[in-house]
Amino acid sequence: MRVVIAEDLFLLRDGLTRMLQAHGLEITAAVDNGADLLAAVAKDQPDVAIVDVRLPPTFTDEGIRAALAARKTTPGLPVLVLSQYVEQLYARELLASGSGGIGYLLKDRVFDSAQFVDAVRRVAAGGTAMDPEVIARLLARNTDNASVGALSPREREVLALMAEGRSNAAIAQRLVITERAVAKHTASIFIKLDLQPSDDDNRRVLAVLAYLEG
C-alpha cells in the first residue's frame, strides 16, 4: 500500500514512516507542509494520505484545509488526519468532504501500532476511522435523545465502535462476543434509531454519524 505523509515535526514524521514501513506499507513521500502534500498526491497517486492538522506556514488548521483541498482535486482520495486534539467541527468538515475514505485520529493512537495500521488500511479501503473521543463527545451530545436513551449499555458500546468505523468482525473481537451477536445488536440499534439498515459497512457508519450529529 502506498502512503504519503505530511507532518512538520521531524521526529514524528520519521517515527511514522518507520512504523508504517515495519508493517509493510510503502511510503512514497514524507513532506512537511500542505503545498508539498498536494504536489506529492498529484505525482504519486497514493492509496492514502496521512496529514497532521498543524502545518506551516500558519500552524493552525493548515492540514485540514490541505486535506480538503486534496480531496477536491483528487475526489475520493483517502485521507487520515492526525491531530493533538480532536474537534467535532473538523470531524464534520472532513466527513462532509465526500463519502468514505476519511479518518480523524488523535496522535496518541499511533502508540498502538497494530490498531493504527488497521485504521490506515481501513481508510485506504474507503472506510472511516473516527477517533473514540469524537464519538464520545457526539454521544454526550445525544444524552437527551430518547432513541439513544432507549439503547441498552451493550448496544451503546456497539454504536460507539460502529461510529468509529469498525467492521462487525472488529467490534466482535473488541467486545469479545460473536459476530452474530454484533449483527443482532446493530440490527436492534438501527431499528431503535429508525435508520435504514445497510450491508455496506461505510454507508452504515455515515448514517450513524449523520444521525448523531443531528
Partner: protein, 470 residues
C-alpha cells in the same frame, strides 16, 4: 438603569438593544425626524398630545426644582443662621445672656453643619432625579459625576469616611449651586410649557379680555404645542451645564476605573498562571517522572524477565497517553485550538457542538478581533453556556455574534426558567470583571420564568479576514 423611555411619552418605538442614554437620545432624534411642514391632522393631534405631555413633565421638573431650592436654602440656613446668629446676638452689649449665647454659638454652629451634611444626600438625590429625567424626557443624557462610594467592596465604612467622601467631591458643591440656580432659572424654563398652555386657556376662556390679548395668548399655546419637543431639550441643556461631570471629574473616574480593571486583569492572569503551573506540576510533569522510572525499571529487568519488562513498557505507554490527555485538557483551558485556528465564530461553533443542548448560532463577523478580546469573549460564552446547562434547564440557546460600529456584540439567550442574578452567582460577576478589562460590559435580563438574555459588548477593532484555502 432606566428603562430608556418615559411613561407613554416619546416611547413609541421599542429599542431592542440595551436601554441607555444613547437610546434615549435616538428616540428623541426619531421623534424630530418625523416632523413635516404640511398640515396633517393626525400630526397636529400627535403634537397636541406631546405638548400636553411636555407641559406635565415640565411641571414635574418644576416641582423638583422648587424642592431643590427649599432644601438648599434650608441647608444654607441651618449653617448660616443659628451659630452666627448667636454670635451677633451675644455681641450686642445690652443683652443679659450674651455670654451664654456666645458660649453656645460654636456647638450650635457645629450642629448646624451636621444637619446640613445630612441634607446633602437629599440634594444629591434631587440632582440625580433631574439627571434621570433629563435623560428620559429631555433627550439630554447626563452621566453621574460622583466619586465612587467608599466601601463598595463590602467593607464597613464609618460615618467620617462617608462624610468626607461627600464633602470632598466637587460634584456635591456643584449640586448645591445647581439647586439654587435651578430654583430660579430652571424653574422658569420648566414651567414655560405649562405656562404657555395655561395662557392659551386664558385666551380662550378668560372673560373681559381684549381680542388682541386673546390672540397673543392663543398664539402662545400654539407656539408651545409646536415647539414642545425643543422646550424640554432646552431645559436639558441647561441642566447639563451644571449637573454633568466636569472634564476633570470624568478623567478622575476614568483613571480610577482603569486602575481597578488593570489590577483585576493582572490578578486574574496571575491566578491563571499559578493554576497552570500547579496543573503541570501535579499532572504531566509527575507522569513523565513516573514514566522515566518505569522505563528504567524495564531496562533493568529486560534480560532476566522480558515478560515483566514488556508489561512495564506498556504501563509507560499508557502513562504517556494519560499525560497527553491532561496536557490537551490544559491547553483547551488556556487557549482552545479552534480559537487559535479559526477565530471566535468557529470556536464558539465548536463549543456549541460539544454542548449537550440545541444551540442556534448566528454570526456576522468579518475579520478577527484582537487575540485577548477573542479569548475573553470565548471564555465568557463558554461560561455562560455552562451556566445555562447547569442552572437554566433550557432546551435551546441562541447565540448571536455581530460587529457593528466598533463594537463586538454577543447575545446569548436561552429558553430556560430565568431568574439569573449577577449579584448572586460568581460566574456572571467574573465575566463582567473580565470584560471590564477591555471596557466591555455585560447586560442581563432574566425575569423569573425566563427567558434569560445576556448581551455582551466589547469595543474593539477587527483585523482583516484571513483568506480561505478551501
Amino acid at each position: 438603569m432606566s428603562d430608556g423611555n418615559g411613561a407613554g411619552t416619546q416611547g413609541t418605538e421599542a429599542t431592542p438593544a440595551r436601554p441607555g442614554p444613547q437610546d434615549a437620545q435616538d428616540a428623541q432624534g426619531t421623534a424630530q425626524a418625523e416632523e413635516s411642514w404640511s398640515i396633517s391632522w393626525p400630526l397636529v393631534a400627535e403634537r397636541a398630545r406631546t405638548g400636553i405631555t411636555v407641559a406635565g413633565q415640565g411641571l414635574v421638573l418644576l416641582a423638583v426644582a422648587v424642592t431643590g431650592l427649599v432644601v438648599s436654602f434650608l441647608t444654607l440656613a441651618v449653617v448660616v443662621l443659628p451659630g452666627p446668629g448667636l454670635v451677633a446676638y451675644g455681641s450686642g452689649r445690652n443683652h443679659a445672656n450674651a455670654g451664654l449665647a456666645l458660649a453656645l454659638a460654636l456647638p450650635v454652629f457645629i450642629v448646624g453643619l451636621f444637619v446640613a451634611s445630612q441634607l446633602l444626600p437629599a440634594i444629591r438625590q434631587l440632582a440625580s432625579t433631574t439627571r434621570r429625567l433629563s435623560t428620559r424626557w429631555c433627550g439630554v443624557p447626563i452621566a453621574d459625576p460622583y466619586l465612587p462610594r467608599p466601601g463598595a467592596g463590602g467593607e464597613d465604612v464609618g460615618l467620617g469616611r462617608r462624610l468626607t467622601w461627600r464633602l470632598a467631591d466637587p460634584a456635591t458643591w456643584r449640586d448645591l449651586l445647581w439647586a439654587l440656580v435651578n430654583g430660579c432659572v430652571g424653574a422658569v424654563l420648566a414651567a414655560l410649557p405649562a405656562g404657555l398652555l395655561v395662557a392659551g386657556f386664558l385666551g380662550l376662556f378668560a372673560p373681559y379680555a381684549s381680542l388682541g390679548l386673546r390672540l397673543v395668548f392663543i398664539a402662545a399655546a400654539v407656539l408651545e404645542v409646536w415647539t414642545s419637543p425643543w422646550l424640554l431639550r432646552g431645559y436639558g441643556y441647561f441642566a447639563h451645564s451644571l449637573l454633568a461631570p466636569t472634564r476633570q471629574a470624568e478623567l478622575a473616574l476614568r483613571v480610577r476605573q482603569l486602575a481597578e480593571t488593570r489590577t483585576e486583569a493582572l490578578d486574574t492572569k496571575a491566578a491563571e498562571i499559578r493554576r497552570i503551573e500547579r496543573d503541570l506540576h501535579d499532572g504531566a510533569q509527575a507522569r513523565l517522572v513516573a514514566m522515566g522510572m518505569t522505563l528504567d525499571a524495564a531496562g533493568q529487568i529486560i534480560d532476566t524477565n522480558p515478560e515483566a519488562a514488556r508489561a512495564l513498557l506498556y504501563e509507560a505507554r499508557d502513562a504517556s497517553v494519560k499525560a497527553l490527555a491532561e496536557l490537551r485538557a490544559l491547553v483547551r483551558g488556556i487557549h482552545p485550538p479552534v480559537l487559535a485556528d479559526r477565530g471566535l465564530a468557529d470556536a464558539i461553533h465548536a463549543l456549541a457542538l460539544d454542548t449537550p443542548m440545541r444551540i442556534h448560532l448566528a454570526s456576522d463577523l468579518h475579520g478577527r478581533p484582537p487575540a485577548p478580546v477573542e479569548s475573553a469573549a470565548y471564555f465568557a460564552v463558554s461560561e455562560l453556556l455552562a451556566n445555562v446547562s447547569k442552572h437554566a434547564e433550557a432546551r435551546e440557546t441562541w447565540i448571536d455574534i455581530r460587529y457593528t460600529d466598533g463594537m463586538l456584540r454577543i447575545g446569548v439567550t436561552d429558553n430556560g426558567h430565568g431568574g439569573a442574578d449577577p449579584s448572586r452567582g460568581t460566574g456572571l460577576h467574573g465575566i463582567e470583571r473580565r470584560l471590564a478589562a477591555f471596557d466591555g460590559i455585560l447586560a442581563i435580563s432574566s425575569p423569573p420564568g425566563g427567558p434569560t438574555a445576556v448581551t455582551m459588548e466589547i469595543p474593539c477593532e477587527l483585523s482583516l479576514p484571513k483568506t480561505s484555502f478551501s
